[in-house]
């Protein structure tokens, strides 16, 4: 039995049945990290000592019958923008390079209550701003399928850690595709839930109206299982929603008969790599053969999503990142003259180029004289985009398309042209603007040997439709080779 090949849910069962101990699983993951981390750089921080200690504590609670849940004892990796009490949390930025939170984010607490063993904090694009994990201040993460390629981003460390078997599952965050796109590039499953489903308390904010935490994992069963644990109503997050329908595993049903699936023509046009297109259409065909009703339709407004997104995200980022001022925590410049010069120098030295670019743009679109023309205009277009999805979901249960126009690009290819990098988000950002859930699941491998992702988008609160369709597809597709597997 190779422990590392197990899914999170199957490992928890094995632990419960005393076939594997929590310590075995934790040590297996730590050994794997020792072997491959120097190549992939999935983590900013590996908490070896803490993990071994947690393993003992969790095992004791399982043995005492206090922990009986479906993830008890399973090692997990957390994206480094979620606060973890007593454990370095950097957002992959120099400005938070020494920040040790005094509290944990709600999603992490929910995992800990369920008996998770936290292995460490995963690498990401600085402040989640990027699509490749190359804007990290602590070096880029490499794609386990081919280390010359990026893992995607911004949750690239989380996706790569799952693919490289350096954890059993991970948490990521998704502001414009930051869970789904790296999941696609690394051949794992990722879900961005409906806005408000997972508490954002303790998630270091980028674009608050768009950010949402979700799982990156090995299969759809794990995805539903993790969602049941992390979804919660949290009074500490005023945008948190009270939901009664969070029994996501009830949707793990191999039946899509009569499910209406829409393929937006706008998602299959110019710019889409032919191999990605073929693989995604084949997946649609599989669902059709299983009884789903699949048809094409025009979603409209797709080309307006990116400019809308970057206006809103930059505006919110410029406001959210005002708190990094070199006073209460984080980096402070050595040499300064007076308070304002200290603020400016600390921020200019502490933030990387992409973060500064977005703060500048955001400050501009919010400034008096430009606010109406840019920021309010974007919020009006957002309303139109939401309406277009409302119309679509009157006809369809699920929208099916690609996650990204291509498979993972080579390292260094994307950052030279920011606008081009932003265009890679075209199929994912609309879900954030409209608050919708979106799921990414592997559906093929291209001729270069890199995984291709299929995206399923649902109406608000309809994660179960996505889980059901993804589960049915997964049953037909069969096991997807995972890179670290032997």
């Amino acid at each position: 039995m190779n422990i590392l090949n197990m899914t999170a849910a199957s490992l928890a069962v094995a632990i419960k049945n005393k076939e594997v101990t929590v310590m075995d699983a934790t040590k297996a993951v730590l050994e794997q990290i020792e072997k491959t981390e120097s190549t992939y750089n999935c983590y900013v921080t590996v908490d070896k000592e803490g993990a071994l200690k947690q393993a003992e504590e969790v095992q004791a609670k399982i043995d005492a019958g206090e922990l009986t849940g479906p993830l008890a004892g399973v090692p997990v990796a957390i994206k480094d923008n979620m606060c973890t009490q007593g454990l370095l949390t950097t957002c992959s930025s120099k400005i938070l390079g020494n920040f040790v939170p005094t509290y944990s984010s709600e999603a992490v607490l929910n995992l800990q209550k369920a008996g998770a063993v936290i292995i460490g904090k995963t690498n990401m694009d600085e402040f989640a701003m990027g699509s490749t994990t190359e804007t990290s201040a602590f070096g880029e993460t490499r794609n386990p399928w081919n280390p010359d390629h990026v893992p995607g981003g911004s949750s690239g460390g989380s996706a790569a850690a799952v693919a490289a078997q350096e954890c059993f599952y991970a948490l990521g965050s998704d502001t414009g595709g930051s869970i789904r796109q790296p999941a696609s590039f690394c051949g794992v499953v990722g879900l961005k839930p409906t806005y408000g489903t997972v508490s954002r308390y303790g998630l270091i904010a980028y674009g608050s109206s768009l950010d949402q935490i979700g799982p990156l994992c090995k299969d759809v069963t794990d995805c539903a299982t993790i969602m049941e644990v992390i979804a919660s109503h949290d009074p500490k997050d005023s945008t948190s929603i009270k939901r009664e329908d969070t029994d996501f595993t009830s949707a793990l049903v191999d039946d899509v008969k009569g499910m209406k699936i829409g393929l937006p023509r706008d998602y299959f046009g110019e710019g889409l790599d032919p191999e990605v297109k073929d693989a995604v259409l084949k997946a649609a065909e599989v669902l059709k053969e299983k009884g789903a009703i699949v048809e094409e339709f025009d979603l409209s407004l797709v080309e307006y999503a990116i400019p809308t997104y970057y206006t809103i995200a930059a505006a919110e980022a410029s406001s959210n990142l005002e708190r990094f001022d070199g006073i209460k925590y984080g980096y402070r410049t050595e040499d300064y003259k007076g308070l304002h010069n200290m603020y400016k120098k600390s921020r200019s030295e502490g933030f990387g180029a992409e973060v500064k670019r977005r703060i500048m743009l955001g400050s501009f679109v919010l400034s008096s004289g430009y606010y109406d023309a840019y920021y309010l205009k974007a919020l009006r277009v957002k309303a139109l985009i939401k309406k277009a999805f409302d119309e679509a979901f009157k006809k369809y249960d699920v929208i099916l398309g690609p996650v990204a126009p291509t498979t993972a690009p080579k390292l260094g290819e994307s950052l030279s042209d920011p606008l081009k990098m932003y265009l890679g988000d075209i199929y994912t950002i609309s879900a954030n603007l409209a608050g919708l859930p979106g799921l990414s699941i592997p559906c093929g491998i291209d001729s270069a040997g890199l995984p291709i992702g299929l995206q399923l988008i649902g109406d608000c609160f309809k994660e179960k439709n996505l889980i059901r369709a993804a589960y049915a597809y997964e049953q037909a597709r069969g096991a997807f080779e995972r890179k670290g597997e032997k």
Binding site: T102, S348, K377, R380, L419
Partner: protein, 97 residues
């Protein structure tokens, strides 16, 4: 490029953003911002008269709670993160002479 960003605008945005950019960074920022705004101008193609700006996708209301302390005293741990502290307080540069 339709949007020409002047030196004055970059200076002004630098003040708003509390960023001190080098000469090269300013030149770069002018180019980047101009390109991004050209791209964002695409939104002008859409008629949004009578469309209300949507800040949240769900009807959100302010959430109120009683003003009760629920967390303990974490002053020591919080101050550990401070770049400079003295006698249990944050140290900031002189704000006026």
């Amino acid at each position: 490029m339709a949007n020409i960003i002047s030196d004055e605008i970059i200076e002004y945005v630098g003040i708003l953003a509390k960023l001190e950019l080098s000469h090269e960074e300013k030149q770069e920022a002018k180019k980047d911002m101009g390109r991004m705004l050209d791209y964002i101008d695409k939104l002008g193609e859409l008629d949004t008269t009578d469309v209300e700006p949507m800040s949240h996708v769900f009807p959100m209301q302010n959430v109120f709670r009683e003003d009760v302390v629920t967390n303990g005293d974490t002053r020591e741990a919080i101050l550990k993160n401070a770049p400079q502290e003295k006698d249990g307080m944050f140290v900031v540069p002189k704000t006026f002479d």
